[in-house]
């Protein structure tokens, strides 16, 4: 499909919505939501807009998305609250933990520390955009095989960092990988396995 023919999304991902309405993921059934009308609606309505809302366009995972946002919104909050792309996590909202790591023009950056509206000319890649046709990216597969996560909350950021770390060429030694992956905190302590995963995927 030509770039101009690709549909422009105007808002909200159905992904999370499906999870709420009861279809399971990975063998886990989620209980039906009590009290909300979500099951009957196709879109999540957020009719409220701030007085100074701005119209912007973002290129995320090769899709162009038009949306109206609060100009103060960080890229992270835009992904999570506006677009329901909750794969990117908010750990601290202050640039201290790396959980919100995404790629902007192929470089790893912290989405909590930047305003969404400044990225209209950038190519943004999130964790949701790594797998191709349902096949895990080699780094993702290496994480699974090496048990490079436990609770999984830092994992999106770790994977995005790892993909970039390998591309940057910062995998010449265990010490180098450790240093260049130190920007992603893992409280569960999966660190040694993360190193193994990066080593495996960088071969």
């Amino acid at each position: 499909m030509k770039e101009e023919d690709k549909p422009i999304k105007t808002g909200f991902s159905r992904r999370n919505f499906l999870q709420v309405s009861g279809t399971g993921v990975a063998g886990l059934a989620v209980a039906p939501l009590l009290g909300a009308q979500a099951a009957e609606q196709k879109n999540l309505e957020r009719p409220f807009e701030v007085p100074n809302a701005v119209d912007i366009q973002l290129n995320i995972n090769n899709e162009t998305i038009k949306l109206k946002i609060d100009p103060r919104a960080s890229l992270l909050d835009t992904l999570r609250y506006k677009l329901n792309m909750t794969g990117t996590k908010k750990g601290c909202d202050a640039g201290h933990c790396g959980a919100c790591t995404i790629h902007i023009n192929g470089e790893r950056k912290l989405s909590c520390l930047t305003l969404a509206m400044r990225h209209q000319n950038d190519k943004i890649t999130t964790i949701e955009g790594l797998a191709e046709n349902g096949v895990l990216h080699p780094v993702q597969q290496a994480f699974v095989d090496n048990d490079a996560f436990q609770c999984g909350y830092c994992t999106s950021g770790q994977v995005m960092s790892a993909v970039a770390c390998i591309k940057e060429g910062h995998t010449k030694s265990t010490e180098e990988i450790k240093e260049y992956m130190s920007g992603n905190i893992c409280r569960c302590g999966a660190y040694p396995n993360i190193i193994k995963a990066v080593q495996a995927a960088s071969k």
């Binding site: 999370n16 999870q19 709420v20 399971g24 993921v25 990975a26 063998g27 886990l28 059934a29 989620v30 209980a31 939501l33 009590l34 009290g35 909300a36 009308q37 999540l44 957020r46 409220f48 701030v50 007085p51 609060d70 103060r72 909050d77 909750t86 794969g87 996590k89 750990g91 202050a94 201290h96 933990c97 790594l130 797998a131 895990l136 993702q140 597969q141 994480f143 699974v144 095989d145 048990d147 436990q150 609770c151 999984g152 909350y153 994992t155 994977v159 990988i177 450790k178 130190s182 920007g183 992603n184 905190i185 893992c186 409280r187 569960c188 302590g189 660190y191 040694p192 396995n193 993360i194």
Partner: protein, 743 residues
């Protein structure tokens, strides 16, 4: 047994690496409102005025709550006992925003509810609060002079334990050691912040909350709101880290639920990272005075420990129970272990990974190391000399104990024989090298749980348990257990968890999930198996009709005795049912109290210290652990490394820093509170001994999750002492603590 002991990849792995797991605060809800809690900027005193007009004027603000208009909330009961986890579940008696008093730093003073996060956050910043601060003088560690009696210690009313004649035995000893050890306040800081999404419908409440105890949360929230437990549902299938926290219900859940009801909108409030320092529990700082009396041959006669832990001024509780683990570690016939608490303006503490063992084995294993040098005795030999053949606290034999083998195997892997006992005698590339070791131990507890097993017409099995996945791999090992105990292919097994509508289980704490939920799953599967076999043998149309049940087994989804067989799907179809399910609840049994069950481990550490700057680096760690049968070596090993990383944090770099003029935090963010990063972690060689424990439980497992890292803090400081001659008795290490290094 095919699946148990296999190092399977986690069942939720592919989703976790793809960002597809829905955590509590990811759940998409229609018409969701967003909230922002505002925290106090004093630690003690009261609010004299609170102005919300600027906040309210922001477009999109729905309501602003303060103590002036907050609905009434009740105190949740806080008598927490590991022996009755269906009971009380409140982190603290104090509920913020019910009056004008401030009793700890970062206590909530206001809640903004708005249409968006940005609006709520900015409105929060615009709230103007005036305080009357109550000054005090505070110290870096709890002071025994301020000590008061504990209300209770983990439900065991023995803050003061003794056996034999500890004081007399100490006085009569040939060799005496008297030292003081301290640990500092620590915070769980899971990567996923706490937060509540509260949804009301016709007077019933659903709470999405990352919690390590959905049933405890349900009870605690219901109590705070003054409503029937049955009208509350808590959903938390995946939790982004708990580490002993997120288990006791914190006041924010009640506040957010009450606010949601008032504004009549589903409401999500995520705590700020800063609020995770003040408001959701922590590991209390401790100050311990230790006396050890021994003979010249290394026999320890008496150990006396007096610990003072920090505690809130409004409730005298502490979970960092340093005095419990040392009671059972060694064979000293005389012992006193007393714990008291010193009140300071802090919020309710909660258990934090290896609560009590962390500080208790730091002090004990450091003291033993000091004793070994005083005696001129190898540290391992000293431990072996005082090996506890039975648990002297309970006077019960162990279900199994292979601690000596842990020392031997660990010493060999580590190369302990290369150790030159002379302080500062080992060098590498100009750096000082130090070797240190320490024992570790953690109890294997059991608590009643219930589970449901359901066989469906399509040949799949649902294992339904109301437990929660905090990252330990529970949903993966449940599948393995079910596959083996039921005889169904693992691919056909689906684990359903994390909702209080499911069968009740205890919290995911204290490393007892495998022993509790795991054994319950095994038993309910056996029960389902019996049920299904009976359906076949009592059905005339079945080829298995009339056969004795004991002669039959289920293998790969088929009931068989080797010659005759029938698939479970056929049995079900023949029975004319869409599914067969059965539920089982396990109980305590008298058998369980006849023996003592603990896991054991030995930690070995190599450190390097720059002789010029005194900066210490960990070089490698070897740990060998006795944990019985290992259901999934991959996930169990991950628990070990997680525990070690945690202990490294406690030993080398983590501590709350407070302004001692007002007891307010100085480092309440992840930039100032230094959890370990990749570069802090040396090579970790951690392994299990290959021994099962048939006496512990039907699964032959002992506890894993909290053992890793227990004792490691001492091993590290012991190694630093070996390299430098400087004994660090006050955690954490800081570069200036080795400033006096001899060059």
């Amino acid at each position: 047994m095919e699946q148990i002991t296999k190092p399977l990849n986690r069942v939720d792995g592919p989703d976790k690496v793809s960002g597809k797991i829905t955590y509590a605060n990811d759940v998409a809800i229609d018409k969701l409102a967003f909230g922002y809690l505002v925290s106090a900027t004093i630690a003690k005193g009261r609010v004299t005025s609170i102005r919300t007009d600027k906040a309210r004027s922001q477009k999109g603000v729905l309501q602003v709550f303060t103590h002036e208009n907050m609905p009434k909330l009740y105190s949740p009961p806080t008598y927490i006992s590991p022996f009755d986890p269906s009971g009380d579940s409140g982190q603290q008696k104090h509920v913020p925003m019910q009056d004008d008093k401030i009793v700890y730093d970062l206590q909530y003073v206001a809640l903004v509810v708005a249409e968006s996060f940005e609006v709520a956050q900015e409105a929060g910043h615009l709230i103007e609060v005036s305080y009357e601060e109550e000054k005090g003088t505070y110290e870096e560690h709890p002071n025994p002079k301020d000590a008061e009696e504990l209300e209770f210690l983990f439900g065991i009313m023995e803050g003061d334990y003794h056996r034999g004649k500890p004081e007399a035995a100490f006085e009569a000893s040939e060799v005496k050691l008297e030292q003081t050890y301290t640990t500092q306040t620590m915070h769980h800081q899971p990567m996923e912040r706490h937060g509540t999404t509260a949804v009301w419908n016709a007077g019933r409440l659903t709470v999405y909350e990352p919690t390590a105890w959905i049933f405890g949360h349900r009870k605690g929230v219901a109590e705070m709101l003054g409503m029937p437990v049955e009208d509350v549902t808590v959903i938390s299938p995946y939790v982004g880290g708990a580490f002993g926290g997120k288990g006791l219900v914190a006041p924010h859940t009640g506040i957010i639920a009450a606010a949601a009801k008032e504004v009549n909108r589903p409401l999500r409030v995520e705590l700020t990272r800063k609020q995770l320092f003040g408001c959701v529990g922590l590991r209390s700082a401790t100050h311990s005075e230790v006396k050890i009396g021994a003979e010249k041959d290394g026999t320890i006669n008496s150990i006396i420990i007096h610990t003072t832990g920090e505690t809130p001024e409004f409730q005298k509780t502490a979970f960092e129970s340093s005095v419990i683990a040392p009671r059972m570690m060694y064979s000293n016939p005389n012992m006193r272990a007393k714990m008291e608490v010193a009140p300071v303006p802090m919020s309710g503490p909660v258990p934090m990974r290896s609560p009590g063992e962390a500080s208790g084995l730091f002090l004990l294993e450091s003291a033993l190391d000091e004793l070994s040098y005083k005696l001129g005795m190898d540290p391992i030999a000293l431990r072996k000399k005082n090996h506890a053949d039975i648990n002297l606290e309970t006077n019960l034999p162990w279900t199994s104990k292979h601690l000596n083998e842990c020392y031997d195997v660990g010493a060999k892997k580590f190369g302990w024989d290369k150790r030159n006992p002379k302080i500062g005698s080992m060098r590498k590339d100009g750096m000082l090298v130090g070797y240190g070791m320490a024992s570790g131990s953690y109890p294997t507890l059991f608590h009643p749980a219930s589970a449901k097993a359901k066989f469906l017409a399509d040949g799949t099995v649902e294992l339904i348990v109301g437990t929660q996945e905090i990252g330990t791999g529970t949903n993966t090992i449940i599948r393995q257990i079910a596959a083996d105990y039921l005889g169904v292919a693992i691919e056909k097994i689906k684990v359903v968890m994390g909702n209080t509508r499911y069968p009740k289980t205890p919290p995911t704490v204290a490393a007892f999930t495998a022993a509790s939920v795991g054994t319950t799953v095994a038993k309910v599967c056996e029960q389902l198996k019996t049920n299904l076999i009976r359906r076949a043998t009592t059905n005339e149309a079945s080829p298995l009709f009339g056969l004795k049940a004991e002669t039959l087994n289920i293998s790969n989804g088929t009931i068989t005795n080797g010659t005759k067989e029938e698939s479970l799907q056929t049995t079900l179809k023949r029975a004319g049912r869409p599914y067969v399910e059965t539920q089982l609840q396990t109980q305590y049994s008298p058998e369980m109290f006849k023996k003592s069950s603990s896991s054991f481990g030995a930690n070995f550490v190599e450190v390097e210290v720059d002789p010029i700057t005194g900066w210490a680096s960990l070089k490698r760690i070897v740990g060998v652990y006795d944990c019985g049968k290992i259901i999934n070596p991959k996930t169990a090993h991950s628990q070990l490394i997680g525990g070690c990383v945690f202990a490294i944090g406690m030993a080398m770099q983590e501590a709350a820093e407070r302004d001692l003029s007002n007891f307010r935090y100085l480092n309440s963010d992840l930039g100032g509170y230094h959890m370990p990063v990749q570069a802090d972690i040396p090579d970790l060689d951690l392994s299990f001994l290959d021994h099962t424990d048939k006496e512990a439980n039907i699964l032959e497992v002992k506890s894993v999750g909290e053992l890793g890292g227990v004792g490691l803090q001492a091993a590290i400081m012991n190694a630093i002492y070996h390299a430098t001659g400087i004994r660090i008795r006050s955690l954490p290490y800081k570069p200036e603590k080795l400033l006096e290094i001899a060059e």
